[in-house]
Each structure stands twice: as C-alpha cells, then as structure tokens.
C-alpha cells in the first residue's frame, strides 16, 4: 500500500486543483472545517479563515504570495481547548514549525487537527504584496505560482520575495500530516500527495485518490533549492554578524527602533500573555530615568531598546522558526529577522535543538541534565 497519491491538476489550473482537493477534504464526514488563506471580498487582502461550508471554498487562495501573519497563532487559538471535531489546517512550512513549538509550550495540541502543507513557494512582505496585486491582470496567486514554478523570481516592479523566504531552508512541509509536493514533479497533470503520518494517510485513503509513483526528479530538485537557500542564508548570517559584532554596531543596527514591540506581537512563538516588557518590572519611575540621564549626561527615550531586543533573543531565539514576521511588522524596516535568525542559529545549535523539528524534542530551557555544560562553570579556563 502506497503513501503517495495524485492531486490532479485540471485544465483550469493549479488553483482550481487545490480548491477541489480542499473541498473534497471538507466534504469528509470526519472533517468539520478547514483553515486556509482566503481572499477577502472587500479588499485584495488574504487572511486565514476557518471554512466550514464547502460552497465557500472558492474564496480560498492558497497560492497568494501574501503572508500577513503567522497562522500558527490562529491554530493555537483553535486548539487550546477542545474544538469538538477535527479541522484541517493548510499552513506554510514555517507556520507548521511555529505551531509545533507552540504545542510544546502547551499553547495548543495536535489532537484535533490535520495539518496540510505544501512545498512553500515563498511570499512577499506586506507592502510588496500590495504592489504585486496592482501589477497583476490575472489572479495574483495563480500568476505568482506560475512564475515560481518556472523558477523565475524576477517579478514586475523589482518586487522581491521576503528576505526570510529567500533564506528559508525549510520549504518542504516536513511536519505536516499531508504534504503537497510540486517541486521536481515531471508531470504537469498532478502534484504529489504524501501521507506523512497515520492521521494524514487515513484522510488520503478516505478520499479514494489515484495512487502516484515516486517521482524521480523530486529529490534532486529539493536538494538544488536547499543548496541555494543555505548559501543565501549563510551569507545573510555573515553580513548580519559583521553589522552587529559589538554594542556600538548593534545600537546603530537598532537605532530606528521606537519600542513599538510589533516584532514581539507578531512573533508566533512569543506566547506569554503578558510580556515582561508590558509589566511594571521595567516600567521605570521618572526619578530613575532622571538618574540615568544624570549618570551619562543624556538618556535616549524610550530607553531599554537594546535591552528589549537582547532579552527577546534570550527568551525566544531557541524557538525561532525564521518566518520573518518580525521584519514584516517593523514600521521602520529594521532587519529584525536577520538578527534573530543569525543568533537563533547559534543558540539552537548550542543545545542540539532545531525549532519546529519535532514535538518530541523538548525546548532547551524546559529541561536539564545533571552532567552537562560543565565548561561554563568556574572562573578559570576562559
């Protein structure tokens, strides 16, 4: 019995094929609703929506290169308490990985969801997406995907994929129950459907789909893309490190920050209901601020900007999945994602951890062993 099936692409195109596939899932008795990106009727904005009526499936726009928020937060909200049924959720790879982190942080469960993922074609930042929509004569999602499939990333008006996407090495949906594969598919009449868990296989079996043979080119196509992404990522790490390698450079890097905390609000893994930065802990008295000013001659206000970013790195970099929403949300275009990812790489490596890889890997700061890291103890031997 194979775990590979065909997602048939009809003459109307990929978008129609995906919508039919989603519709068939939604029509299963075992699935109550499907969460997927939806084209809003009032404006060409794409947002996640929980669709329960199969007749509404044509609003769903899984190809739109729009990534206004990391939907892991939405799935966390949907699964924190029993939802009373099973919902399918269509997520980008970084959303799946963020959700896996949230599950480990007890902010959701996998019990009542079937995760559907697809080889991620990437996305634009919000402002770029709006410009892209204006440049399109046909459906923006289909136009974009068509171009990406041809490996053409020269979009009109010099619009470029988000930096986070260009540096993303996790474009395949490894944590999904059902994976939709299009990379390296020789045939144009179908995409690959793979049941990656028992739950995913069970859904695919119920759909009575045609079985697919293992595609020969796929492995190589993924390896090629991975090599390109890793090279881009490592360049990004080196550039970012060079730009922030001491406090003077770091303050220059963060100089435009206005302490709006947008990067924390949109961060899918920043899960505290009340962040320490909105509590009284660092809500200093005026007399304290005056003391700072008197000690150094002046104090920039709001203060604690570098402190905030370093603390967020300490609190959350081990869970960073690199989705890039922090950069997307920054009103002053600070490359927050670059800073976060380049440090997260180090902190995750230090504990042999990879955020979003598996629900079975405990978050590094939630566990300890008796004999470990003895080299950080003592005042000799630095």
């Amino acid at each position: 019995m194979s775990d590979l099936y065909k997602l048939v692409i009809p003459d109307e195109g990929v978008l129609a094929g995906l919508r039919r596939f989603f519709r068939s899932i939604l029509e299963l008795e075992s699935i109550q609703a499907i969460l997927a990106p939806v084209q809003l009727p009032m404006k060409p904005s794409v947002m996640p929506a929980l669709i329960s009526d199969p007749d509404q499936i044509d609003h769903c726009d899984p190809l739109a290169p729009s990534f206004p928020l990391n939907a892991a937060k939405v799935v966390s909200q949907l699964t924190r308490n029993p939802i009373g049924g099973t919902v399918a959720v269509f997520l980008r790879s970084c959303e799946i990985r963020a959700f896996i982190e949230l599950v480990k942080l007890k902010q959701g469960t996998l019990d009542e969801v079937v995760i559907i993922g697809m080889d991620c074609p990437g996305a634009f930042q919000n402002a770029s997406y709006r410009r892209f929509v204006q440049s399109c004569t046909e459906d923006p999602g289909a136009t974009f995907f068509n171009q990406i499939q041809k490996k053409d990333t020269a979009f009109p008006g010099n619009i470029d994929l988000a930096e986070a996407c260009k540096a993303c090495e996790h474009f395949t949906p490894d944590g999904a129950d059902i994976a939709i594969g299009w990379l390296g598919m020789a045939s144009e009449d179908h995409f690959l459907l793979k049941g990656q868990t028992d739950r995913g296989l069970d859904v695919l079996k119920q759909l009575k789909l045609p079985e697919a043979a293992a595609p020969l080119m796929r492995h190589g196509a993924i390896a090629d893309m991975l090599a390109k992404r890793l090279a881009y990522r490592d360049d990004m790490f080196a550039t970012t490190h060079a730009a922030t390698s001491n406090l003077k450079k770091l303050t220059a890097y963060l100089a435009d920050c206005v302490n709006c905390y947008n990067c924390r609000v949109v961060c899918p893994v920043c899960y505290c209901r009340e962040c320490v930065f909105v509590t009284d802990v660092f809500d200093h008295d005026a007399s304290q601020v005056l003391k700072w000013s008197q000690r150094r001659g002046l104090v920039k206000l709001p203060a604690d900007t570098v402190f905030y970013h370093l603390t967020r790195l300490a609190h959350m970099s081990t869970a960073c999945v690199g989705c890039g929403q922090c950069s997307n949300a920054c009103p002053n275009d600070i490359p927050v994602m670059e800073l976060f990812r380049s440090v997260a790489e180090k902190t995750q490596n230090a504990f042999g951890y990879e955020a979003g890889r598996s629900v079975d890997d405990a978050p590094p700061l939630s566990v300890f062993r008796e004999n470990e890291f003895e080299d950080v103890v003592g005042i000799k031997g630095e």
């Binding site: 003077k248 603390t311 300490a314 902190t347 890291f373």
Partner: protein
C-alpha cells in the same frame, strides 16, 4: 587618571553562596569592594534579562553563583541556571561582550574561604581585561 576599578554584579543564591559570603564576613575575610551582591532565593530565578540589564547598565562583569550540583535547596534550580548561562554565553559574545564578563560558580554554604578567593580572582581578572564596552557606548 585613576586606575580602572570594575563593577561586578553577583547574583548569589540565599542558601549557598550568600551564606558563604556571610561566613566570609563573620570570619573577617576580606574581598574586593568591587563586588555588588544581589541575594536571590535561587540561581534558578536569575532570568537572562537581569544579567543583560546589569551588563547594559554598566556592570563590567556579572557573576551568578549558587549551590553545588545536587545541593540545590530547590532540587534543580542550579541546573536550570547553568542552561541559561550556556544560552547567554552564545548570545552576549556575538555582540562584543567578552566571555569572561559572564561567570557561573558553585560556592557552598561552608565555602567562606573559597568565596573570598573567587571574588579576589574574579576582580583581578576583570581589572585585567579592562572596562566593558558599555562604558564607551551610548546605550539606546
């Protein structure tokens, strides 16, 4: 110019290192006045944010010191502290803080002599590496 005198903030646990400091005091052992002790109930409560704040506020070094492994009053707080220090050792040097500026030691309640020795060693080490970059940088 006056010779450089470092400021060292030490987060010490109530049950072991603070008690050792107390013992050093009652034993009339001297140790440098550069050390600013902050007593906490356990090193396991020293969130990285306090270490970062101390360094940005101008501490030339931060020491976290608690009970020896197996001796934690709260069973395992010191193991958690060790992971947090490991984490900070990855982050802080990326931004130009020398690794020597963040230290973790285990000093038991009866180790009054060791406490005074370690404080003297640490102070002379930090004196040798000089003032922290925070003294010359405008912190935003």
């Amino acid at each position: 110019m006056e010779p450089f005198e470092p400021t060292i903030v030490a987060f010490v646990c109530n049950w072991c290192t603070y008690t050792a400091a107390d013992l050093a005091g009652t034993s009339r052992l001297s140790y440098p006045k550069n050390i600013r002790l902050i007593r906490v109930m356990c090193t396991g409560m020293v969130d990285p944010q306090y270490v970062i704040k101390a360094l940005l506020e101008g501490a030339d070094a931060v020491l976290v010191s608690g009970c020896h492994p197996g001796d934690c009053h709260y069973i395992n707080g010191n193991y958690k502290a060790r992971r947090r220090i490991r984490l900070l050792k990855e982050i802080l040097p990326r931004f130009g803080f020398e690794p020597e500026r963040l230290r973790l030691t285990w000093i038991g309640a009866s180790d009054g002599i060791q406490f005074a020795e370690i404080m003297r060693d640490l102070t002379s080490q930090i004196r040798a590496i000089g003032p922290s970059q925070t003294r010359q940088t405008m912190i935003i």
